[in-house]
Symmetry: C2
Subunit: 264 residues, 2 copies
């Protein structure tokens, strides 16, 4: 599956919050053999959210996952932005309403919150774009949301990492697993010769193994330590091919008088 | 100034690398009163790099900063992607060529690298889109690049954090400072009452102080600890207004029997 992320929150754009959600999701999308194509990070702005969603939909990914902007305050406007982008109305979702109500009731009874009942702001979280399915949030208040738009499934998740992860694990992981592709990644480190010296050989290997993606990453300064990583997306005998390519590139490095260090 | 980031690298999309560059740049852009509008993170793919650049240019930002994809290997294709996006040719830049040559000569003489001279792959880093100015990279090999396109200035930086930061500090920081706006941010934490309970009051304060951006962030679970942060972008008496709004919101929280904790 092709996946895109839409990350929503001014706090990321002003540098107050480091977006670690995307990396966490990227690992899982990749692990199950799916391809994350793009991450779009935008602010809490209705026009920007809706137009960015429309741009993403034009690229026709199988999944869009959004995070952020589901809370009770006025600047949490993801649901409205998505609704505008999809040209759908927001409507009170009874399931979402009763689950939000339950969370607040529970918090009030335990003495965590001092205000009882559903205020306008709390109720706001239950207004979902038409056609939405609310997704239970077992560690927070605002439910996640699932919506289909043509061949794309949109998952709308909270930005608080614990809440995002909980819904991702419960709802999205099983889908990624079910439609599982195959992703293999192996690699090692070398020193003594630089990235540019090995570059013509990795190009040749790429031509020899077009199914693989062979990449070098300089790890320290001027290529004093370079990482080789070889990945295969949905290649039947990916692991076998990677092992072949790895032993060839190691031989090349040794011939060039480089030193090989295994990764830890 | 309006700023957009274009982050390029498959390693980010597969979750191998956490993009901390964007957060580092976002802080500095914000500190000098400029607005980061969007971060677009894409893979090492010529079509995607060029079309994403064109989309960003349509939004007409003052600055575009790209990071990643400037190295010597075949999958470092940012310069070519940008050239296609700008409909310009790549041409050998003599300044870039001689600075890259010097770095490799030095590394060879110090015994860090075992291959002398400019290979095809090393030379590749000196082919810049027409009209480029190379920016010295004092901690790595690939120079950064500056290009003007109509009213937008594009800075192309390496993805290796130390190299990105070095060029950013030397070249971009002075420009951000020169065109400096004013950004103020203050805040505190509170507990005992939830985000949803304070929401109607922050909405009111937003109406009273339309120049400010008043935001609450739940810090732990179900709003057991909430952060209030108030920011002002280019507001003449921003600090004074923030102090007023802060004391009003603190009073509200105390009236609601919340507890205030200063941030550290």
């Amino acid at each position: 599956m092709d996946v895109e992320l839409l990350v929503i929150g001014n706090e990321i754009l002003i540098g107050k919050t480091l977006d670690s959600n995307s990396n966490w999701m990227a690992k899982r999308i990749t692990r199950y053999g799916h391809q994350l194509r793009r991450i779009s990070t935008v602010g809490d702005d209705l026009n920007v959210i809706s137009s960015t969603l429309q741009e993403i939909l034009k690229r026709n990914p199988d999944l869009i996952i959004t995070s952020g902007g589901l809370g009770p305050t006025f600047d949490d406007m993801t649901l409205e932005g998505i609704a505008i982008g999809l040209k759908r109305k927001l409507e009170l979702n009874e399931h979402a309403f009763s689950s939000i109500k339950k969370v607040y009731k529970h918090a009030y009874e335990r003495g965590i919150l001092k205000l009882e009942g559903m205020t306008k702001e709390r109720k706001k979280m239950a207004f979902l774009p038409q056609g939405s399915t609310p997704l239970p949030n077992t560690v927070g208040t605002a439910p996640g949301v699932k919506i289909r738009e043509k061949s794309t499934t949109i998952f709308i998740l909270p930005g608080v990492p614990a809440e995002m992860k909980s819904i991702f694990r419960n709802i999205i992981n099983p889908i990624l697993k079910e439609k599982k592709g195959k992703f293999v990644e192996k690699g090692f480190l070398f020193s003594g010769i630089g990235e540019s010296q090995i570059a013509p050989y990795t190009s040749e290997l790429e031509n020899k193994y077009p199914q693989l993606w062979i990449k070098t990453h300089p790890k320290i300064g001027l290529s004093v330590l370079v990482e080789v990583s070889i990945t295969a997306f949905n290649v039947e005998n990916g692991e076998e091919l990677i092992d072949k390519a790895l032993s060839e590139i190691k031989e090349i490095i040794l011939n060039l008088k480089g030193e090989i260090k295994e990764r830890n």
